[in-house]
């Protein structure tokens, strides 16, 4: 036990002496937090919109003001001819152009469908897709409203005969805030990078400096060395989870609806996996550089690409979807997001917990084996 403490204390001194490392550990989470929460907003609101109203009737003006009143579109240009559309897109003045046909008002007045053409700048597919959805919903609502008012004008009671009005409600994240989605994901990513990368480096660095030679001729056991080396990083990982969670909850107002205990248990299982992966890299890599690259690959690939952090796993190619199953990150991502946003219980999350537990055991066995044979 004394020997484990001696190693752990020494590791902490290394960390505090290395300013660049210290900055990485402390600032990286904050930078990523603000980057993902502000700069990389995936919310689509206030889409710049231009309108070409070829009709200029009561109905067409009503339609445009309905657009304007929604939070999703900001009408900032009125066009007078189709020839202007290209210029508007090319100069990024608007992402959406709404074209109302010259017969829009008269068609509706006659009980026919009013034609609205929607031109969307597809160079930003995400915004384009969202804008299309909103516009379609808005048109449907507008159409419903017109039908109802026409029925009332004809003296028909609308109390029972009102058209079906779609009512969209997003559960768990009603405002559709990307912070709610990203911060729990970011916690997973930070935990992954810090623990894998730093444990991967810790032993290799010692081998390169020749101090490892000195350690193996001392009475320390391999297991004591392993525990002493990874304990500080487990602690730092836990600290980062707490800090980022706290900033997320108190500054960005993201919800935490589940059990703290369950989240702690999930984090523990996951950290065992990542620390083990780091140790495997450390035992296998021949130099600090190799360890750095290998661990970055291990942390970034499953962390960013295959965890569902940015790209939904269901949208990945089938092969990559299959690959994502062999990294523990995707399971912990589900656990974290579910506990933060939905408050899921163990009854719901047990398959993910079971998967993490299997990974933890397998990785530790593998780490111990490769450590024994290489070190």
């Amino acid at each position: 036990m004394n020997r484990v403490l001696a190693i752990a204390r020494k590791e902490f001194i290394h960390i505090t002496r290395d300013r660049r490392l210290l900055a990485t550990i402390l600032l990286m989470p904050l930078i990523q937090l603000f980057l993902f929460s502000y700069a990389l907003s995936f919310n689509v609101k206030n889409i710049p919109t231009a309108v070409l109203d070829q009709d200029n009737s009561t109905y067409s003006r009503q339609y445009v003001s309905a657009l304007q009143q929604s939070d999703y579109f900001t009408v900032n240009r009125d066009l007078s001819s189709m020839s202007q559309v290209n210029g508007v897109f090319a100069q990024n003045q608007a992402n959406v152009v709404v074209v109302l046909s010259p017969t829009f008002g008269s068609d509706i007045a006659a009980g026919r469908l009013g034609a609205v053409q929607l031109l969307i700048d597809g160079s930003d597919p995400n915004t384009a897709q969202v804008a299309q959805g909103y516009a379609a919903a808005l048109s449907a609502v507008f159409g419903g409203r017109v039908a109802i008012s026409r029925a009332q004008a004809k003296g028909v009671s609308t109390s029972g005969a009102a058209g079906i009005t779609p009512s969209i409600r997003t559960w768990y994240n009603p405002e559709g805030r990307s912070a709610n989605y990203f911060i729990p994901g970011l916690i997973v990513i930070l935990l992954t990078t810090v623990t894998i990368q730093q444990t991967a480096l810790t032993l290799v660095r010692e081998k390169e400096n020749g101090t490892y030679e000195q350690l193996v001729v001392s009475p320390i056991r391999r297991i004591e060395l392993m525990v002493g080396k990874i304990a500080p990083w487990a602690l730092i990982g836990a600290l980062e989870v707490i800090i980022v969670s706290a900033i997320g909850i108190f500054v960005f107002q993201i919800p935490f609806r589940g059990s703290v205990l369950l989240f702690a248990l999930g984090s523990l299982l996951y950290v065992i996996c990542t620390l083990g992966l780091g140790l495997i890299v450390s035992a296998r890599a021949s130099s600090v550089e190799t360890a750095n690259q290998l661990s970055a690959l291990l942390a970034v690939l499953p962390g960013f690409m295959l965890s569902g952090f940015i790209f939904p796993i269901a949208n990945l190619p089938i092969v990559l979807q299959a690959v994502s199953y062999i990294f523990p990150t995707r399971y912990f991502m589900v656990i974290t997001r579910t506990i933060f946003l939905k408050g899921g219980s163990f009854a719901v999350l047990w398959p993910q917990f079971a998967a993490l537990a299997v990974f933890a055991v397998a990785i530790i066995v593998l780490a111990a084996a490769s450590y024994r044979e290489r070190a």
Binding site: N2, R3, I7, I13, T211, E213, Q214, V217
Partner: protein, 328 residues
């Protein structure tokens, strides 16, 4: 350590150990087809400075690693401080000190932090640590520099601090793997003074070195070549193997050229450069019989002087290696 470990350790060591710190018998290590160490025997006594010499790749480090209980031998036995290296490697590691040419100190830790770390590693009590720390700081001439970062120390100080860390737990046997490589002559001399002090206190020292002048400081030597010990004994005994040979030092302008000209000459047993002069072993011939100035003169090399010299350890090792080379 556990209670059980302590009980086992209570077996009276000093009696069973006797005078020998290391006893090696038929020790062998192979890596695949490669024989790194080929059935060597050696004994190191307490309080003895034992020099373990040999060219790079001859099996020195492999032997040390086996004796430290880091790697398992492929065959043979060895007892280090009374413990079998195969059965009790942990006990072996508790009872030895080790210092390598890299001075395995943590560069970003201070002098004190390094000492404290090794103290924790070897489980010293607080009182013991305080006592040893004071002693080592004095020994290494580092008093007042406890809070300095190790990387800011110059080589000589680093080397003495490394020795301090290796002896913190007061081992009775220390392995020193080329401890003085890259250290200036003054610091080397100071360092050897410290080694003599340790030996006087009854500590056995197992030293590998490239420096022949250092080898002569050892009580006994073993010369390992291609995994085999090809000579052992006191420095005098090792040199005595060459006592009947005549070794001449020639003062020639073009030493390298003259060396080439002597290749294949039947009178010449061995020839090699020693600094700027040419060293030639002519076996049992006399200087007149070999008449090297005439031989070289006819080849176009002017010899300014010939001097008979006493064989040095270096001569002895060149001789041994040449013999081995001829045999192989």
């Amino acid at each position: 350590m556990s209670l059980f470990g302590n009980r086992k350790q209570a077996v009276p060591q000093a009696e069973t150990l006797g005078d020998d710190a290391i006893v090696v018998s038929k020790l062998r290590k192979t890596f695949g087809d490669f024989v790194a160490v080929d059935s060597i025997d050696l004994t190191v006594k307490r309080g003895e400075i034992f020099g373990f010499l040999g060219p790079n790749g001859s099996g020195k480090t492999t032997t040390i690693r086996m004796l430290c209980g880091v790697i398992e031998p492929s065959g043979g036995t060895a007892t280090v401080m009374g413990y079998d290296i195969c059965k009790d490697p942990e006990k072996v590691r508790c009872n030895i000190g080790y210092m390598s040419q890299k001075f395995s100190l943590f560069q970003d830790l201070t002098v004190d932090e390094n000492l404290r770390f090794y103290s924790g590693l070897y489980g010293l009590t607080a009182e013991k640590y305080a006592e040893r720390r004071a002693y080592i700081l004095k020994m290494a001439d580092l008093e007042g520099r406890e809070t300095e970062l190790t990387k800011n120390l110059s080589v000589g100080w680093k080397q003495r601090l490394a020795l301090g860390c290796a002896t913190l737990h007061e081992p009775k046997l220390i392995f020193l793997d080329e401890p003085t490589s890259g250290v200036d002559p003054t610091a080397r001399r100071q360092f050897w003074e410290l080694l003599y002090d340790l030996a006087n206190d009854g500590v056995a020292l197992f030293v590998t070195t490239h420096y022949m002048d250092e080898a002569t400081h050892c009580n006994r030597l073993a010369f390992i070549y291609r995994g085999d010990i090809i000579a052992a004994g006191t420095p005098q005994e090792v040199k005595a193997g060459l006592a009947k040979d005549t070794i001449l030092r020639l003062d020639v302008d073009d030493g390298e050229g003259a060396l080439a000209a002597l290749q294949g000459n039947s009178a010449v047993a061995e020839a090699y450069m020693q600094g700027a002069s040419l060293q030639v072993n002519i076996g049992h011939l006399s200087a007149d019989e070999a008449d090297l100035p005439a031989v070289l003169g006819s080849a176009g090399f002017l010899v300014h002087g010939v001097e008979r010299v006493e064989p040095t350890l270096e001569d002895a090792f060149v001789h041994l290696v040449t013999e081995q080379g001829g045999r192989a």
